[in-house]
Protein backbone atom coordinates (compact mmCIF):
# COMPACT_ATOMS: atom_id res chain seq x y z
CA UNK A 1 0.00 0.00 0.00
CA UNK A 2 1.69 3.12 -1.20
CA UNK A 3 1.55 6.41 0.66
CA UNK A 4 -0.45 8.07 -2.12
CA UNK A 5 -3.27 5.55 -1.83
CA UNK A 6 -3.18 5.80 1.95
CA UNK A 7 -3.50 9.58 1.76
CA UNK A 8 -6.32 9.26 -0.77
CA UNK A 9 -8.16 6.89 1.53
CA UNK A 10 -7.71 9.22 4.48
CA UNK A 11 -8.98 12.26 2.55
CA UNK A 12 -11.96 10.35 1.15
CA UNK A 13 -12.84 8.96 4.57
CA UNK A 14 -12.73 12.40 6.18
CA UNK A 15 -14.83 13.85 3.35
CA UNK A 16 -17.41 11.07 3.82
CA UNK A 17 -17.70 11.80 7.54
CA UNK A 18 -18.02 15.51 6.76
CA UNK A 19 -20.73 14.92 4.17
CA UNK A 20 -22.62 12.65 6.58
CA UNK A 21 -22.45 15.33 9.27
CA UNK A 22 -23.73 17.88 6.77
CA UNK A 23 -26.63 15.57 5.87
CA UNK A 24 -27.60 15.34 9.54
CA UNK A 25 -27.28 18.98 10.62
CA UNK A 26 -28.55 20.86 7.57
CA UNK A 27 -32.01 22.39 7.72
CA UNK A 28 -32.97 21.76 4.10
CA UNK A 29 -34.04 18.27 3.06
CA UNK A 30 -32.70 18.79 -0.48
CA UNK A 31 -29.23 19.46 0.90
CA UNK A 32 -29.49 16.38 3.10
CA UNK A 33 -30.41 14.14 0.14
CA UNK A 34 -27.57 15.54 -1.97
CA UNK A 35 -25.10 15.10 0.90
CA UNK A 36 -26.19 11.46 1.31
CA UNK A 37 -25.61 10.97 -2.43
CA UNK A 38 -22.16 12.49 -1.97
CA UNK A 39 -21.43 10.00 0.81
CA UNK A 40 -22.32 7.18 -1.59
CA UNK A 41 -20.19 8.61 -4.39
CA UNK A 42 -17.17 8.97 -2.09
CA UNK A 43 -17.81 5.44 -0.83
CA UNK A 44 -17.41 4.17 -4.38
CA UNK A 45 -14.00 5.91 -4.57
CA UNK A 46 -13.08 4.22 -1.29
CA UNK A 47 -14.13 0.85 -2.73
CA UNK A 48 -11.74 1.34 -5.65
CA UNK A 49 -8.93 2.06 -3.18
CA UNK A 50 -9.95 -1.10 -1.31
CA UNK A 51 -9.51 -3.14 -4.55
CA UNK A 52 -13.23 -3.83 -5.03
CA UNK A 53 -14.08 -2.51 -8.52
CA UNK A 54 -17.31 -4.52 -8.81
CA UNK A 55 -18.69 -3.01 -5.63
CA UNK A 56 -17.54 0.46 -6.69
CA UNK A 57 -19.49 0.23 -9.95
CA UNK A 58 -22.63 -0.91 -8.18
CA UNK A 59 -22.37 1.77 -5.52
CA UNK A 60 -21.81 4.53 -8.08
CA UNK A 61 -24.74 3.45 -10.27
CA UNK A 62 -27.23 2.50 -7.58
CA UNK A 63 -26.24 4.16 -4.32
CA UNK A 64 -25.50 7.63 -5.61
CA UNK A 65 -27.51 7.66 -8.86
CA UNK A 66 -30.83 5.90 -8.53
CA UNK A 67 -31.34 6.44 -4.77
CA UNK A 68 -30.95 10.21 -5.05
CA UNK A 69 -33.49 10.36 -7.85
CA UNK A 70 -35.94 8.21 -5.90
CA UNK A 71 -35.79 10.79 -3.11
CA UNK A 72 -36.36 13.63 -5.56
CA UNK A 73 -39.30 11.88 -7.21
CA UNK A 74 -41.04 11.38 -3.86
CA UNK A 75 -40.23 14.92 -2.74
CA UNK A 76 -41.68 16.23 -6.02
CA UNK A 77 -44.88 14.27 -5.48
CA UNK A 78 -45.19 15.54 -1.92
CA UNK A 79 -44.54 19.14 -2.95
CA UNK A 80 -47.12 18.98 -5.75
CA UNK A 81 -49.75 17.63 -3.40
CA UNK A 82 -48.88 19.95 -0.55
CA UNK A 83 -49.13 22.99 -2.81
CA UNK A 84 -52.69 22.47 -3.89
Amino acid sequence: MSTVLLGLGLVVGLAMVGAAALALVTRSTVTAVLAAGLVSLLASVLFVVLAAPDVAMTEAAIGSGLTTFLFFFVMGRIRREGAK
Binding site: G9, M16, A23, P53, E59, T67, L70, V74
Partner: protein
Protein backbone atom coordinates in the same frame (compact mmCIF):
# COMPACT_ATOMS: atom_id res chain seq x y z
CA UNK B 1 -5.85 1.28 4.84
CA UNK B 2 -8.33 -1.27 6.15
CA UNK B 3 -8.31 0.48 9.52
CA UNK B 4 -9.13 3.85 7.94
CA UNK B 5 -12.04 2.39 5.99
CA UNK B 6 -13.22 0.45 9.05
CA UNK B 7 -13.23 3.60 11.19
CA UNK B 8 -15.04 5.58 8.48
CA UNK B 9 -17.69 2.89 8.14
CA UNK B 10 -18.29 2.69 11.89
CA UNK B 11 -18.59 6.49 12.16
CA UNK B 12 -21.10 6.47 9.28
CA UNK B 13 -23.19 3.75 10.98
CA UNK B 14 -23.23 5.69 14.25
CA UNK B 15 -24.11 8.96 12.50
CA UNK B 16 -26.89 7.26 10.56
CA UNK B 17 -28.43 5.63 13.64
CA UNK B 18 -28.20 8.87 15.61
CA UNK B 19 -29.86 10.80 12.78
CA UNK B 20 -32.63 8.23 12.35
CA UNK B 21 -33.40 8.39 16.08
CA UNK B 22 -33.32 12.15 16.53
CA UNK B 23 -34.90 13.54 13.35
CA UNK B 24 -38.58 14.41 13.31
CA UNK B 25 -39.04 14.52 9.53
CA UNK B 26 -39.69 11.09 8.02
CA UNK B 27 -37.70 11.87 4.85
CA UNK B 28 -34.71 12.91 6.94
CA UNK B 29 -34.93 9.64 8.85
CA UNK B 30 -34.78 7.75 5.54
CA UNK B 31 -31.73 9.79 4.48
CA UNK B 32 -30.05 8.84 7.76
CA UNK B 33 -30.87 5.18 7.11
CA UNK B 34 -29.18 5.28 3.70
CA UNK B 35 -26.05 6.76 5.33
CA UNK B 36 -25.98 3.90 7.86
CA UNK B 37 -26.47 1.47 4.96
CA UNK B 38 -23.41 2.87 3.16
CA UNK B 39 -21.44 2.59 6.39
CA UNK B 40 -22.27 -1.11 6.78
CA UNK B 41 -21.14 -1.76 3.19
CA UNK B 42 -17.83 0.07 3.76
CA UNK B 43 -17.16 -1.97 6.92
CA UNK B 44 -17.85 -5.28 5.14
CA UNK B 45 -15.57 -4.49 2.21
CA UNK B 46 -12.85 -3.27 4.58
CA UNK B 47 -12.94 -6.58 6.46
CA UNK B 48 -12.26 -8.46 3.21
CA UNK B 49 -9.28 -6.27 2.34
CA UNK B 50 -5.83 -7.76 2.78
CA UNK B 51 -2.88 -5.35 2.60
CA UNK B 52 -0.66 -5.48 -0.46
CA UNK B 53 -3.01 -7.56 -2.58
CA UNK B 54 -5.11 -6.82 -5.65
CA UNK B 55 -8.68 -7.19 -6.89
CA UNK B 56 -10.08 -10.74 -7.32
CA UNK B 57 -9.87 -10.76 -11.11
CA UNK B 58 -7.54 -13.24 -12.81
CA UNK B 59 -5.70 -11.76 -15.78
CA UNK B 60 -2.17 -11.21 -17.03
CA UNK B 61 -1.20 -9.49 -13.78
CA UNK B 62 -2.61 -12.26 -11.57
CA UNK B 63 -1.86 -15.72 -13.01
CA UNK B 64 -4.09 -18.54 -11.86
CA UNK B 65 -1.28 -20.42 -10.15
CA UNK B 66 -0.51 -17.59 -7.73
CA UNK B 67 -4.10 -16.42 -7.33
CA UNK B 68 -4.41 -17.47 -3.70
CA UNK B 69 -1.38 -15.34 -2.75
CA UNK B 70 -2.24 -12.30 -4.85
CA UNK B 71 -5.94 -11.51 -4.51
CA UNK B 72 -8.09 -10.22 -1.66
CA UNK B 73 -11.12 -12.04 -0.25
CA UNK B 74 -13.89 -12.05 -2.91
CA UNK B 75 -16.70 -13.28 -0.62
CA UNK B 76 -17.43 -9.97 1.23
CA UNK B 77 -17.48 -8.20 -2.14
CA UNK B 78 -20.16 -10.53 -3.49
CA UNK B 79 -22.11 -10.05 -0.26
CA UNK B 80 -21.90 -6.25 -0.44
CA UNK B 81 -22.90 -6.28 -4.12
CA UNK B 82 -26.21 -7.90 -3.22
CA UNK B 83 -26.56 -5.71 -0.12
CA UNK B 84 -26.38 -2.52 -2.20
CA UNK B 85 -29.09 -3.72 -4.58
CA UNK B 86 -31.37 -4.76 -1.71
CA UNK B 87 -30.60 -1.43 -0.01
CA UNK B 88 -32.12 0.43 -2.94
CA UNK B 89 -35.22 -1.76 -2.67
CA UNK B 90 -35.55 -0.99 1.06
CA UNK B 91 -35.12 2.74 0.47
CA UNK B 92 -37.77 2.68 -2.24
CA UNK B 93 -40.19 0.83 0.06
CA UNK B 94 -39.62 3.32 2.89
CA UNK B 95 -40.20 6.22 0.50
CA UNK B 96 -43.43 4.70 -0.78
CA UNK B 97 -44.71 4.26 2.79
CA UNK B 98 -43.62 7.81 3.65
CA UNK B 99 -45.68 9.05 0.73
CA UNK B 100 -48.68 7.05 1.95
CA UNK B 101 -48.31 8.56 5.43
CA UNK B 102 -48.16 12.01 3.87
CA UNK B 103 -51.39 11.31 2.00
CA UNK B 104 -52.98 10.23 5.26
CA UNK B 105 -52.13 13.27 7.41
CA UNK B 106 -50.80 15.90 5.06
CA UNK B 107 -47.62 16.04 7.08
CA UNK B 108 -44.27 14.30 7.33
CA UNK B 109 -43.62 15.05 10.99
CA UNK B 110 -43.33 11.82 12.95
CA UNK B 111 -44.94 13.40 16.04
CA UNK B 112 -48.24 13.61 14.17
CA UNK B 113 -48.47 9.85 14.01
CA UNK B 114 -49.37 8.84 17.55
CA UNK B 115 -51.54 5.74 17.12
CA UNK B 116 -48.88 3.30 18.26
CA UNK B 117 -47.36 5.61 20.84
CA UNK B 118 -47.55 4.65 24.48
Amino acid sequence: MAQIALATGFVLILAGIYGALTNRDILRMIVAFTIADTGVNVVLVAVGFLPGRTAPILDAAVPVAQAAERIIDPVPQALVLTAIVIGLGITALMLAYAYRLFRLRGSLDISNFTELKW
